[in-house]
Assembly symmetry: C2
């Protein structure tokens, strides 16, 4: 999730200066309109230490009418607070219908700390996160607009920032031992935060995870998102469609992060002779590991998605060459049958879940819901919008059972796709693979790209990750996939 | 929760015979209409062992068109099931859009068993229940109509039924050791089931908890509720207001259980001299216990609700005579102030939550939301409908913090109320206590009674119970309340 945000998104000084006055004006207008409509606004600022939450507070107080803003920092627990139920401190500070409340170190902080410092177990952590979720939904249902921002910087950037502060005599004091301890535990915080965000990222109260490595970008992104949220809340105020309030903001934003696919180096290639020998080796290894997994009752689910003509079929054929046919099944996903249409869209995938020790390979998958069904409008926005969390839950159930889940997106450039389409047109035995749909999908390339980005950002989890495979070179695609699968089978056997 | 259901509700043979043909016809019609509309129906049958789930299945199969019903019993875990993620077994059996699925021993069974047999902790239990909840909501959002029935019989009734089966040679075999073990653990199952029901009782997929001690009543109640649910689903099909599908069925049903208030013996009274001496004693005890609680940091919240003129004020005055003024605060709840109106309705109650060791007495409370606001229409049905679970969550937070929560409903008969109103009219110093509102509320007596019943049924929890106090006799009311408070303070100190 966070890697995807680390896009190095930057905004030039002139861009910033150009947009700022207009944005400030619009923000103020929206604040007054919210006030008039009696919609309280709660802004929750969270994120990595050193990402600049404090600075954002200062900005917000200068951009908005500060008379109606109350900023609350919940860090050290006061005696008054300790002696009452946990949420009391937050209830007291909730903004009224005329106010804007800013919370730093909100209800998330304490749960994430408990997870990292005290090592509370999954069930307890999830139970706390669930409480947060129903708390936020209760407020949202009552009409509160809640904007949750997560500011992300990389571990390296965090270190750099701490160093800079330390070097300067005037800022030295700001760096505490605590800060360095946090830095050492960066990865633990990352994992804990990812889980927190994932479990509390709802249609009503979505998270906005931002790259905070450049101040200008961070600040402008906050403003743009806030403005859009406020305007949408005003638009839907009193209407039935309340839950649209938070939808799809980020992808509409002028500041949308660099698409994950644009960061893939498509020049990666593997020479034919290297390919041949490594392929033979990988085949033997995977064959052995698949049998070991069978004996240990470890099942696997491998999901293949990708652009048309990206070579999914070829990769899958190579993969199954490496495995005994008794151990795997390939499930081709095409348009749903009549029977399948009579059920929830996940039903047809659940049917083929492997039993312990077996492997199911999905050639296209449940991700159709958030790709083709989203782009082509086969699913409503509400339907594909809630599919992300449904899919996360589905895959979590698989991995909790002990199933290995690995997801692959085969990525090719638009040029390469065109080349392959044309090749198909003139090659007799490939002609049948090219349909009108393929050409139509090409026209919607940008829409699909956005959908892929969102899909990877929202459903790439530590337990069921997305692997984006550079596939302009077929050898590279095939070897990369097999390597990953070998490694994952090995890993699972080690911890079995 | 279950006590409230044990109303001994009965239906005569002739009533049953009269209603049955009509109901069967309507049910069949509704089944075909659902099928035509493409709405799958899932009926979940749960409850105490011996309550007759099997018999209800037989009835459903004879009432409905059995060609489209699939009954699934999930009891013993097959090898096939064990080797796949837990929910796989249920996914396979979910009804399609043309079908009715009946689940016995559904996803609830395993979690409740784990709680009682393996003693899983709160967090783990809640985490499983939360998974059930999102699973059901996912299906409901996709258009599935889910009817959840919980059949309740008392421990005594369960024993009687087991004995009857044992005595008959032909049914002896049906009673296993397992059954008797379950019977011994009746109370554990009850507590675990209450928690499960409470955590999964949502507006979209509500529970219907039924008294199953008379077959005729149980069967007719199932039919009536099913019919209403099906008709409502048809009515709202395709509309935005999907979440209305499950609302308020039980209270509209002709078979609504006997009102909890009608089961209170209002003749209970305490003689003046007994009253005086016990009151003096209770005062001393409570004074001492309140100080002990203060020293041990145990806080208390006492909530007083009741009919107009039921004597809340008098009880509270007696209670505070027993405590040092430093230890308690009485919060009088009237119409909300402007500031309070600017916040979520729970905000003004959170404000006054006692700090550790202190006592807050609420003279009327957050229950206004589901009483006066419901009856008078000050809150929308959606608002007061979701208030039950908001209140449960609120009180759970208090008790988890260690606060004692006790709720009192002072109950008087309609006649006694009228007598007191009239007395107030002619007594100068009481006149001011009688308002036009009081007379107006009297006209809505039945609506308030329904609201009280639902309130007690839905928010009476093991940790924050409702005490319904017979208050026609003021002495009895006062002593009863003081006794309960003494006992609860004592209990809390013992386990401190």
């Amino acid at each position: 999730m966070f890697e995807i945000v680390e896009s190095g998104a930057k905004i030039s000084k002139s861009q910033y200066k150009k947009r700022l006055p207009e944005l400030r004006f619009e923000l103020l207008q929206a604040q007054f309109a919210l006030q008039k409509a009696g919609i309280p606004l709660l802004i929750i600022l969270s994120g990595v230490e050193g990402a600049g939450k404090g600075e954002v507070v200062n900005r917000l107080n200068s951009w908005l009418d500060t008379r109606y803003i109350e900023t609350n920092v919940f860090r050290v627990e006061s005696d008054e607070q300790k002696r009452r139920p946990f949420y009391w401190r937050y209830w007291r500070k909730l903004p009224s219908k005329k106010q804007v409340g800013i919370f730093i170190g909100s209800w998330y902080r304490s749960s994430i700390l408990k997870r990292v410092q005290d090592g509370i177990k999954d069930a307890e952590y999830d139970s706390e996160l669930h409480r947060i979720l129903i708390h936020e939904q209760m407020l949202a249902k009552d009409g509160m607009l809640i904007a949750k921002f997560w500011f992300h910087i990389s571990k390296k950037e965090q270190k750099k920032r701490l160093r800079v502060l330390e070097k300067n005599e005037r800022t030295q004091w700001r760096v505490t031992e605590e800060d360095w301890k946090h830095h050492d535990q960066y990865d633990d915080y990352k994992t804990a935060s990812e889980r927190a965000i994932r479990k509390t990222d709802t249609a009503d109260v979505p998270w906005h995870v931002l790259d905070a490595s450049q101040d200008r970008y961070r600040d402008l992104a906050v403003m743009e998102i806030l403005l859009q949220k406020m305007n949408m809340a005003l638009k839907y105020n009193g209407g039935e469609n309340e839950s649209s309030a938070g939808k799809n903001i980020q992808s509409q934003s002028a500041l949308k992060p660099k698409n994950i696919l644009d960061r893939i180096d498509l020049t990666q290639a593997i020479e034919q002779d290297v390919y041949s020998s490594e392929f033979d080796e990988l085949k033997l290894e995977i064959d052995y590991l698949a049998w070991q997994c069978y004996r240990n009752g470890i099942s696997s689910v491998f999901v293949f998605e990708g652009w048309d003509a990206a070579g999914k079929g070829g990769v899958i054929r190579r993969l199954i060459q490496a495995m005994d046919a008794k151990l795997y099944r390939v499930i081709q996903i095409a348009a749903p049958t009549d029977e399948e249409k009579e059920h929830h869209y996940l039903w047809r995938f659940w049917r083929h879940i492997p039993r312990d020790g077996k492997i199911t390979i999905y050639d296209r998958s449940w991700y159709g819901r958030v790709l083709v069904e989203r782009v082509e409008g086969f699913a409503t926005e509400a339907e594909w919008g809630r599919a992300y969390s449904e899919i996360i839950e589905f895959e979590q159930q698989l991995t909790e059972h002990g199933t290995i889940v690995q997801k692959f997106w085969l990525h090719i450039s638009s040029d390469e796709q065109l080349r392959r389409f044309k090749e198909r047109e003139i090659t007799d035995y490939k002609k049948h693979k090219l349909t009108e749909d393929d050409w139509r999908n090409r026209d919607k390339h940008e829409l699909y790209k956005d959908a892929v980005h969102d899909m990877v950002a929202k459903t790439g989890t530590e337990y069921a990750p997305w692997n984006i495979i550079a596939a302009d070179d077929k050898n590279h695609a095939r070897i990369s996939v097999l390597r990953i699968i070998r490694d994952k089978l090995e890993e699972a056997l080690k911890s079995a």
